[in-house]
Amino acid sequence: MFRFIGRRFLQTIPVMLIIITGTFFMQRFVPGGPFTAEKAVTPEVLHNLEAYYHLNDPLWKQYMDYVWDLCPKRFHPLALVNGLDFKAAFGIDFRPSFKYPNRTVNEIIADKLPVSLELGGWSLLVALGLGLPLGILAAVKRNTWIDYLCSSFAMTGICIPNFVLGPLLVLAFAIHTGWFEASGWYSPIDRVLPCLTLGSFYAGYIARLTRGGMIEVLHQDFIRTARAKGASEARIIFHHALRAGLLPVVSFLGPAAAGILTGSFVIETIFQIPGLGREFVNSALNRDYTMVLGTVILYAGLIVTLNLVVDVVQVWLNPRLKFE
């Protein structure tokens, strides 16, 4: 297994390089730049700004400089504890943001990542907590009214867009009843509404995948054998079937977790959460070149890591699969 992980890690490097290069050049061909505004800056000011950000250099040179800045140059992993400072720890410099010139991309991401992780983590728990039971129940009671009810309920999360569900929840539970704040991320109770909104979406997918996986497994021979041997229904479901039935959920969760952990733009806008989701959109709209690259690298890194985790978990769940 460790050889597998090692090999995957090595394979990641060319992948990341391709992604960085692609994003770097793709951005430059989009019309408008970080300083494009309705009132043009005067030529002197523009010249100074471009010099400050090295935008005057030839493009290939800017690219090489950026890639060099990204290369690790030292090894002090303990420095990571202090606000995820990659520059101090590994010599990886993500450079200042264009939009927030006195803050580096590293700093901005380090500020927002924990928030997104928290939002995503709780939402995943909500999703699992809602989706798994609904899916299992629907699978066990297939094609009965219980199945229809559970499936419909789970589907609500997918079929009502979250920019409708969110405000509805706020109207109902924050404005009319006053149970929660309408927005903000200050006290623990502020987590409830956003995580409910975000989680309900994934709950739908998890419920359906669980249902599908469980149905497939429940019809297999070894289940029939277990039943014939007199195992109780609960033991069959939870001990025998669930392990295999969860496989599709696991392979879905991998990339979905990357999406959910890097925040959701809609949820963050509605509930005013200082997470990363807005950065993904705003950095592209602001032509904040360094920020876009920072978020892309983060996202790609997360996906690669989570894919690896998914593969490992899949082998653990289904011993018939093997590491290739």
Binding site: I19, P161, E216
Partner: protein, 301 residues
């Protein structure tokens, strides 16, 4: 004792009546699908919606005619579903918006299907180095955050609706390719494929006559499930302000505008929202039903 005279050779046994009539995969599946009431309801709804959205606009009012004096008004005789803030008939805009949303969904899905199935089948069947390289490419593209990629595309090419289809299709094919490859890999190992190979069937024949029919199940299911997720994506782009151009509407644009004014003009949210949600429900149930019906392994009821 039975004599063995040549005149009394034993008669061949009569062939017994078949216990069951043989049925093809498709009629089997259709029969099972009919039993799933939710899926049937979903299917009927989708078909009805299709007809309404593509034929309805010929009979309804025009969707872009404004009536600034009227402004937003609740459902009435003149406007069955009310009007929006510029005085345009909501029913007409809803039908037209449904047309746009469904078209986006269909075309993007077809694009994703075409690219994804071909790519995935080739990767899965080739195996070895080709497979690894092809899937690495998929991994790389997967690791690009969709939001940034689509925004950059839309900004670069302008908000052309055809580009919208292309951008979304270009992202959805990745998952399709993965699924197809996975299915091909698992089917490839089954005995009947070995048998076919032993019998000397060519590669193409094996792919098209043996492998593809057996993976169609998940493919069809995923196709039915991609359409709603494409529609949701389109709604998200409208939320960002990057959706279809005015005065065209899509369900996403209508819902976004409705959500903004949900307390003052409830009809602007309720009707588009209901149609959108019901469409998604229906497509999802239909997809689930199809999966249940087509999955050969769960056919033993």
């Amino acid at each position: 004792m039975v004599s063995l005279s040549p005149k009394k050779l034993p008669q061949p046994m009569p062939v017994p009546e078949p216990a069951e009539r043989g049925q093809s995969l498709w009629s089997d599946a259709w029969r099972r699908l009919r039993k799933n009431h939710l899926a049937v309801a979903g299917g009927i709804f989708v078909v009805t919606l299709f007809l309404l959205c593509f034929i309805g606009p010929f009979f309804s009012q025009r969707y872009e005619v404004q009536n600034l004096d009227l402004g937003a008004s609740p459902p009435s005789d003149a406007h069955w579903l009310g009007t929006d803030t510029l005085g345009r008939d909501l029913l007409a805009r809803l039908l037209y918006g449904g047309q746009i949303s469904l078209s986006v969904g269909l075309i993007a899905t077809v694009v994703a299907l075409a690219i994804g199935v071909t790519y995935g089948a080739m990767a899965g069947f080739s195996g070895g180095k080709t497979d690894i390289v092809m899937m690495r490419i998929v991994d790389i593209m997967y690791a690009l955050p969709f939001t940034i990629f689509v925004i950059l595309l839309m900004v670069f090419f302008g908000r052309n609706i055809f580009l919208l289809f292309f951008a979304i299709g270009a992202v959805e094919w990745l998952t399709m390719a993965r699924i197809v490859r996975g299915q091909v890999l698992s089917v490839k190992r089954m005995e009947f494929i070995e048998a076919a190979r032993t019998l000397g069937f060519g590669r193409c024949r094996i792919i098209f006559r043996h492998i593809i029919p057996n993976i169609l199940g998940p493919v069809i299911v995923y196709t039915t499930l991609t359409i709603p997720s494409v529609m949701l994506l389109e709604a998200f782009l409208s939320f960002l302000g990057l959706g279809v151009q005015p005065p065209m509407s899509s369900l996403g644009v209508l819902i976004k505008n409705g959500a903004d004014s949900m307390e003052e003009y409830w009809w602007l949210l309720v009707f588009p929202g209901a149609i959108f949600s019901l469409t998604l429900f229906s497509l999802n149930f239909l997809g689930d039903g199809l999966r249940d019906a087509l999955d050969v392994r769960t056919s033993k009821d």
